[in-house]
Symmetry: C2
Subunit: 157 residues, 2 copies
DNA sequence: CTTGACCTTCCCACGATGGTAAACCCTAAG
DNA sequence: CTTAGGGTTTACCATCGTGGGAAGGTCAAG
């Protein structure tokens, strides 16, 4: 099978198939004499596995582990379960973070007249300094991006 | 104010301040004779506004619009509201997509013994061909990770 | 043999952020 | 005045998964 057919069959784009090979997620495909990659049914199967794992939000790194367990006939289901649980925990963290955002925004929107007047509680809130710091303590984590603080500087001056 | 002090005051890293300037989100800062960027209180204020909008998940592109409205004294609050609603809709889409993932995963985990035996419904499900497609329709959304990337693959099957 | 649909590799882009390095600037202490 | 240490500047690289495109080779049908 050519990469195009493999792509259709596995629902993984040709671009991604090459990428997965490049980063070592899948072994290098066999080549025809002229350099075309060829794929077997087993290869398609693996690609489809990857595709489904991606659809469940697993990162490529996580899929590396999943593939390892998949191929390991003596695996322990506890290992798979642990991977899945960790992933769920990560998803839950992100969901929670985004829910927090939407809740805040929905509360603000609720207070916004949404008419021709310029007054808007949304802008006012963004404008204001740090009010409503319910947690004075530095809460580590729970926020998706901006993992590292800006703190490199010392307060020497 | 130096960029370091501006960073502390606005809670935006110096790196990001330069980046925002580079991409035109904020105007070029004034410079001292020796080339140091200097910031006024108004600049800090704007940076803080940006920071707060980022914390609510607005993209830089969206913040560009928010800043425009912020500066437009004759704005209509309806415009702000619309921006916020669109953003909420996007957040809701991603939340929904991730909830779908966790629901699926939690159901699978529930069925996984998690012991020393190799049998695992999670792997089996990933392995299997397309079953349980409750929606035969092309689900274009399904934006997994923190993606902005149009995961709308062609899928010319 | 030509044409068009494939395939190959290589490079670029996205978004927002951090890291590093080399060079320069500033200030306070000696 | 000199020096040390920290702040600043630019420039480039990396992330992560994906797509786009160019330049050129291959293949199969007409």
């Amino acid at each position: 099978m050519n990469i195009g057919e493999a792509s259709k069959a596995s629902k993984v784009s040709a671009k991604m198939i090459r990428y997965y090979e490049q980063i070592g997620l899948i072994p290098p495909a066999d080549r025809t004499e002229s350099g075309y990659r060829t794929y077997t049914q087993a290869d398609i199967h693996r690609l489809h596995f990857i595709r489904r794992a991606r659809d469940l939000g697993f990162s490529v790194a996580e899929i590396t582990n999943l593939l390892g367990l998949w191929n390991d006939k003596s695996r322990q289901s506890a290992d798979v379960k642990r991977l899945a649980q960790q992933h769920i925990a990560e998803l839950d963290r992100r969901i929670e973070s985004m829910l927090q955002m939407t809740e805040t925004l929905k509360a603000l929107i609720h207070c916004c007249a949404g008419d021709e007047r310029p007054d808007c509680p949304i802008l006012q809130t963004l404008e204001q300094p740090d009010t409503s710091e319910d947690e004075p303590e530095e809460r580590t984590g729970a926020v998706p991006r901006r993992s590292h603080g800006t703190r490199t500087a010392k307060r020497s001056r």
